[in-house]
């Protein structure tokens, strides 16, 4: 047996001997695999979009709401101009089909070290804590979520769910399975590591702006 296999068996055997039993039988294993926990979910009595906005903004995130997907480029451009950002952006390929303004240089590659703004499509919103759920993939590179100073996220109002558990159902329903990275984002990057003083923009985006569609 190789050293690696040895260590694996030794640890599993040590666990079993501590539990004073041998390996579980197939019946018990099947029962454990079939277990569907029903943990307590914190009560909510608020409309989902309103709660999402309230919670997300409570942590220094900002939001805007537009009527349809076609309105997204103008809302992004308004944000960019308002913040005085350069006229270029990394845009997830999920938003490729939108009519981006001619003056805005857009690409769909990962975000490099000098990228200033990224625009991404969220897979879902979770109203419970007011968080975005991003699924990585060719249409939504992970670097878009973390490298630029400004992150603009497009979220469909209908994709906001109440609790985490419902967001997991969205993940489980994906034909392609789990993405490499599922990023749940609750606002701008922050730190309190110097004398517990909260400072935004530690390593990730300094600002996160959500455009809610619908």
């Amino acid at each position: 047996m190789t050293a690696a296999a040895n260590a694996r068996e030794a640890i599993l055997n040590s666990v079993r001997s501590a539990l004073r039993r041998g390996p579980l039988d197939d019946k018990r294993r099947a029962e454990l695999d079939a277990r569907r926990p029903q943990h307590t979910r914190p009560a909510q009595d608020e409309e989902l979009v309103a709660r999402f906005i309230r919670k997300f903004e409570s942590r220094a995130g900002t939001t805007a709401r537009v009527a349809s997907r076609a309105d997204v480029p103008a809302a992004v451009e308004a944000y960019r101009v308002d913040k005085g950002l350069p006229a270029h952006a990394a845009v997830g390929a999920a938003l490729k089909d939108l009519a981006w303004p001619a003056g805005l240089a857009v690409h769909h590659d990962p975000a490099g070290i000098s990228e200033t703004m990224a625009v991404s499509q969220a897979l879902a919103g979770i109203a419970e804590p007011g968080s975005l759920m991003m699924a990585s993939g060719p249409a939504s590179p992970i670097t878009h979520n973390f490298v630029p100073d400004d992150h603009v996220v497009v979220l469909d109002a209908g994709a906001i769910v109440g609790h985490f558990e419902e967001a997991w159902e969205v993940l489980r329903a994906r034909a392609e399975g789990m993405p490499r990275a599922t990023n749940i984002i609750s606002g701008p990057s922050r730190t309190a590591d110097v004398e517990q003083t909260i400072q935004l923009g530690a390593h990730g985006p300094r600002r996160v702006h959500v455009i809610i569609v619908g």
């Binding site: 690696a4 260590a7 694996r8 030794a10 640890i11 599993l12 040590s14 666990v15 501590a18 539990l19 004073r20 390996p23 579980l24 294993r29 454990l32 277990r35 569907r36 926990p37 943990h39 307590t40 914190p42 009560a43 590659d109 990962p110 070290i113 804590p129 968080s131 990585s136 993939g137 060719p138 590179p141 992970i142 670097t143 979520n145 973390f146 490298v147 985490f164 993940l171 789990m178 993405p179 490499r180 990275a181 599922t182 990023n183 749940i184 984002i185 609750s186 701008p188 990057s189 922050r190 730190t191 590591d193 110097v194 004398e195 517990q196 003083t197 400072q199 530690a202 390593h203 990730g204």
Partner: protein
């Protein structure tokens, strides 16, 4: 990391006289406690969740072998690799071998207490690699060549002035004095490291058996840049961190941020599953998880099984009067405070950490805030009991305890001595207090001892009953 818990008393005395440390601890003390209390009060289900979290962890621990195997199968199916390490040395070797195979020159690290536990940084540096801690707190203490003093706020013992000095020495001037400028400077320096890194190492708050995912919870985003931009992502985690499903992870997520930093949620919860897919544009090409036992499976069988429920939130140390007075470094190893006083003797040996279980007033605050209801004072008392049984307790203390037992089991003798004591103390008191008392200088050196009334409680009580 070399254990120095035997020096607890000396280190505690040093800490109490360290003005900068006391200033830093003073600033931290109220914040964590108040914010946690507010979060707990705002969630009516909080106590219910604590009970469920305790029961769920117990269920996991009772079936740990199965959930670990299921987790391993799911990681493998997602294209990742699981490695098993019996102890710190095996864990270091596994990680070193991966780093050497990909010819790693720069290794970035997100916060990982297990990597501290296994002494990883020293091993990588010894083999010529540049190791960069990217969590701001970890980065600060790496510049100071110090270990973390808190499991979630590693640089909590540093004042802003000290951080300014460290940054000026490392990055050059001009010296920054505002928190915003210090954070920006670290951001700029570390950006470059993320993009150059060959290997990125993070911890794992939870390992999900259902999906083969590791979950980390952070505020800064450093853990994400670390694992996304390096060619190889390695996760270090204890074997007890596995949970069956995403729904189970959620139960603990609802408690973790509230208990740790007093936030409703941390900024980033990241679920990592395997390496980048063929069609992905970014992400690591390899994904490895190192499952570290290092004494945990042994704990599972005995009286300390409860300790394996720990989700490393740090609430116990935030609420501990001893930790609040001396800070984390006095404890002499990786894990400080109440949870560290239980774990250190169990992982590093009872005789290597004699003072830790005894540096506790048994006030019980830690247990009352623990999100998974670990009975920390009971476990500390149990360790004291074991120390006594294994003859580790000092001889003088053992003799004194024997005398105490002799007296305490003889009520007449006990009350007679009590009467002598009460009269003696009352006689030497001035203005109702005692300034100096032989054999009790530990108390009277720093404060007066209130004098007793001259008669014992029993005498007074019996006097009252006689009056009726």
């Amino acid at each position: 990391m070399e254990i120095r818990s035997k020096e607890f008393k000396e280190r505690a005395v040093f800490a109490i006289h360290d003005a900068s440390l006391q200033q830093a601890l003073g600033k931290a003390r109220g914040g964590f406690v108040g914010k946690r209390a507010q979060q707990a009060a705002e969630l009516p289900e909080f106590e219910q969740l604590r009970e469920e979290a305790k029961n769920t962890k117990n269920h996991i621990l009772d079936n740990l072998d199965h959930y670990l195997e299921r987790y391993e199968a799911a990681v493998t199916a997602a294209g990742g690799h699981v490695h098993w390490a019996r102890d710190a040395e095996e864990a270091r070797k596994i990680i070193l071998d991966i780093c050497k195979r990909v010819d790693a020159k720069t290794v970035t690290k997100g916060k990982s207490m297990v990597s501290e536990e296994i002494g990883l940084n020293e091993a990588l540096i010894e083999h010529g690699m540049e190791v960069v801690e990217t969590d701001l707190g970890e980065y600060i203490i790496q510049l100071a060549h110090e270990p973390p003093s808190h499991i979630i706020a590693p640089a909590v013992h540093k004042t802003k002035d000290q951080v300014s000095d460290l940054f000026e020495a490392a990055h050059g001037g001009p010296r920054k004095t505002e928190v915003a400028d210090l954070v920006n400077e670290a951001r700029r320096v570390l950006r470059d490291k993320y993009f150059r890194a060959d290997v990125g190492i993070t911890g794992g708050n939870f390992l999900v058996a259902e999906t083969g995912s590791s979950i980390i919870v952070t505020n800064e985003g450093n853990g994400d840049l670390t694992q996304t931009l390096a060619k190889v992502h390695i996760v270090t985690s204890g074997i007890e961190r596995v949970v069956p499903t995403l729904d189970d992870a959620t139960l603990f997520l609802r408690l973790l941020a509230r208990s740790a930093t007093g936030q409703e949620t941390e900024t980033y919860t990241t679920i990592s599953t395997g390496p980048r897919r063929a069609e992905d544009l970014d992400g690591p090409e390899e994904y490895h998880v190192v499952l570290v036992d290092n004494g945990r499976s042994k704990m599972l069988g005995g009286r300390f099984k409860d300790m394996l429920r720990c989700i490393r939130c740090g609430a116990c140390m935030n609420h501990c009067p001893v930790y609040g007075a001396v800070g984390g470094h006095a404890y002499g190893w990786v894990y400080p405070g109440p949870m560290g006083s239980v774990l250190t003797p169990l992982i590093k040996g009872l005789d290597n950490a004699y003072d830790l279980p005894n540096a506790c007033t048994l006030n019980g605050r830690c247990a009352s805030v623990c999100p998974v209801k670990i009975p920390l004072p009971d476990l500390l008392r149990e360790l004291r009991h074991m120390q006594h049984q294994q003859d580790i307790t000092p001889v003088m203390q053992r003799r004194a305890l024997k005398v105490w037992r002799y007296v305490a089991t003889r009520p007449k003798l006990y009350h007679a001595l009590e009467q002598v004591g009460a009269r003696f103390l009352s006689a030497i008191a001035k203005n109702g207090s005692i300034r100096r008392l032989p054999l009790a200088s530990g108390w009277t050196d720093v404060r007066d001892l209130p004098a007793p009334a001259g008669r014992t409680f029993l005498e007074l009580w019996q006097g009252k009953r006689g009056q009726k």
